[in-house]
């Protein structure tokens, strides 16, 4: 019965293979991708529902009992992330039908996109650290292709930076795995959770934990390893940036939370320096976002700032703070993906992504401006919207644990986010469009026919509805986050499920 865990993975693989057979048929690829994403989303919701009702389930691949085989574990954290990944995939699939030009589709955009979703689902569901590494590789290879399809100058340059740092991160990750295996003789997370506390050489354990943090930190984009992120994320089309910005950096955070709560929990390991790194990440992201003059780069730096929120919040190490971090992460995935899609539409409307040459959205496209306001103000956290609620637990956690520097950084980060969003609003929405900006050879938003326009806006609406749900029904998400935080800190159920005969 537990085979349902593998369905999201297998299904995405099948979709991707079907798409490969339709290599040159752009229209069919678009249809198959949308239908595939919709079915994938329903499968993941069914999986979520089963885990929500019956608790954590696990399956041993090839029937090799844990810890000898690879275990896939679906606990609430993993399935929530799978559902969110599929929601973003659904929106990006829809957006890509008009947002990605046919020549890019003919180079295999859609099959690779579905492979990436498969990789993400695999990384969330696995219970084995080496298997996590393999899924990371599946994801980064797909992301390299998505980043370079099109082959523009900026794209190639961004890709060189992205490639180097991500490959370095993989090497560091593998080094950590080698050391961990040499020390403990296992790579199964549930077994590691029981073995690590018994290792006598605490120094070695700390070093291994540090190397793991370094590897995941590069992927998540924490200080000072974030430089590749703003260099690469603004180069591909908006749909790709949306997928990257929403999901890839959060995968790094997911890996940090998963590995550190399971293998190196608070009692065994000092979290102080994680907090310091988190605080520095908030500062560099916030200040970076403030000075940038390109809307996509502004959003890229905001990703870094909010990754800092999660890392700094995680460093507090209490259940309350972890609840806040999880809620914040769920909210951030939806909102950041949405913002990149919004930036894509804004690019189509004004013909530029430079703040100086954009403007007039409020005047010319009032309905769209109101729609775009939802993700922007959710990001700031204006009370009924989704960014506000996780901050209660985050700030509360910092105050209860008396981590004043974390609290100060969180307040500073929120304030700077408000400032940056206000700046973007002024420059793009309320300022009139600068006269005399030359018309480019480029398909503007107004050149699309009404049904095509609708296809560009519907994904944004879809994600906006999800983030409105997060805001207006915050108690559901709070309950979910609290349950996940509880499962992560009291990981006995996880271990028992993995080893159940």
């Amino acid at each position: 019965m537990n085979a349902i865990i593998t369905y999201p993975l297998i299904f995405q693989a099948i979709v991707s293979i079907v798409l490969l057979f339709l290599w040159q048929n752009v229209k069919a690829q678009r249809m198959v991708s949308i239908i595939g994403s919709a079915i994938g989303l329903s499968i993941s919701v069914v999986l979520f529902n089963q885990v929500w009702q019956k608790g954590t389930i696990a399956i041993q691949m090839g029937n090799w009992e844990a810890p000898f085989g690879i275990t896939l574990v679906a606990d609430t954290f993993a399935v929530t992330m799978v559902v969110l990944a599929h929601i973003v995939a659904m929106a990006v699939s829809l957006f890509s039908t008009k947002g990605i030009v046919a020549s890019r589709v003919k180079f295999g955009y859609f099959p690779i996109m579905h492979l990436m979703i498969m990789g993400l689902s695999g990384a969330f569901l696995t219970g084995d650290i080496f298997n996590l590494y393999v899924w990371f590789e599946v994801i980064i290879i797909s992301s390299f292709v998505l980043l370079t399809i099109g082959g523009k100058k900026a794209q190639i340059e961004g890709a060189v930076k992205y490639f180097t740092l991500n490959m370095l991160a993989s090497i560091i990750f593998l080094t950590a795995i080698a050391l961990l295996y040499g020390t403990t003789g296992t790579l199964n997370m549930a077994e590691l959770a029981t073995i690590i506390p018994e290792i006598e050489d605490r120094g070695l354990v700390k070093i291994i934990a540090l190397i793991f943090f370094l590897a995941f930190g590069v992927k998540a984009g924490v200080f000072p390893m974030y430089v590749w992120l703003p260099a690469a994320y603004h180069t591909p089309p908006a749909a790709v940036s949306s997928l990257f910005g929403g999901l890839l950096t959060k995968l790094g955070v997911y890996a940090i939370i998963r590995v550190f709560t399971m293998v190196f929990p608070v009692g065994l390991f000092t979290y102080e320096w994680i907090g310091i790194v988190g605080v520095l990440t908030i500062l560099s992201g916030a200040l970076g976002a403030f000075v940038q003059k390109d809307i996509v780069k502004v959003f890229s730096y905001l990703i870094i700032c909010h990754i800092g929120f999660m890392i700094a919040g995680f460093s507090i190490g209490t259940q309350l703070a972890l609840t806040g971090v999880l809620f914040y992460m769920f909210h951030d995935i939806i909102v950041k993906s949405n913002l990149f899609l919004v930036s894509g539409v804004l690019h189509r409307i004004t013909g530029s992504t430079k703040l100086a040459s954009m403007g007039g959205i409020m005047e010319n496209k009032t309905t769209l401006a109101i729609l775009f306001a939802i993700p922007l103000f959710s990001l700031v956290g204006i009370p009924p919207l989704s960014g506000f609620w996780p901050k209660i637990s985050l700030f509360g956690g910092a105050i209860v644990s008396q981590k004043w520097y974390v609290l100060a950084a969180l307040i500073f980060g929120s304030f700077m986010t408000l400032l940056v969003v206000a700046k973007v609003w002024l420059a793009v929405f309320s300022k009139p469009l600068p006269v005399g900006s030359p018309k480019k050879l480029f398909k503007y938003f107004d050149d699309f026919n009404p049904s095509e326009k609708r296809i560009l806006v519907i994904p944004i609406l879809l994600l906006a509805i999800v983030s409105l749900y997060f805001g207006l029904f915050a108690e559901h998400i709070q309950q979910l986050s609290a349950r996940i935080a509880d499962e992560l800190i009291n990981n006995q159920t996880y271990i028992e499920t993995v080893f159940r005969k």
């Binding site: 080496f130 393999v134 590789e137 980064i140 290879i141 390299f144 370079t148 082959g151 100058k153 900026a154 190639i156 340059e157 961004g158 890709a159 060189v160 930076k161 490639f163 180097t164 490959m167 370095l168 993989s170 090497i171 593998l174 080094t175 795995i177 080698a178 050391l179 295996y181 040499g182 790579l187 430089v227 703003p230 260099a231 690469a232 603004h234 180069t235 000075v291 940038q292 003059k293 390109d294 780069k297």
Partner: protein, 116 residues
């Protein structure tokens, strides 16, 4: 033998890091390749070097009596080699493409995407 392999791993890591700190795009990739090989060797080394037989349990017994070689590091190294092979071939195509488009091999001139 362990000592020798440990030294080789160290040399591979050191030379890899030295090369990725150089300004040339080609040396960067070679550095990453060397680091990749270093980590594979480390993985192999950390599994423990034993002169043992394959871990196959005979039909009539329950456990392995004699010393056996741990098969897991070998499987891990094999997987890692295949993955790094794929990544390295992508890297080589990427630098070829980068050289064609950007017309430079100097990493210090690759700062266009970082300009404000």
């Amino acid at each position: 033998m362990e000592f020798l392999l440990a030294i080789i791993t160290g040399v591979l890591y050191a030379s890899g890091i030295y090369l990725i700190l150089r300004r040339s795009l080609v040396k960067l990739i070679i550095g990453l390749v060397l680091l990749g090989n270093g980590v594979n060797l480390l993985l192999f080394l950390m599994g423990g070097l034993t002169k043992g037989s394959p871990p196959i349990i005979a039909d009539n017994v329950k456990t392995i009596g004699e010393i056996y070689a741990d098969p897991l590091p070998q499987a891990l190294v094999l997987t890692a080699i295949v993955i790094s092979f794929g990544l390295q071939s992508f890297a080589i195509i990427l630098i070829k493409r980068a050289y064609k488009v950007l017309k430079t091999d100097d990493l210090d001139t690759l700062n266009e995407t970082d300009n404000i």
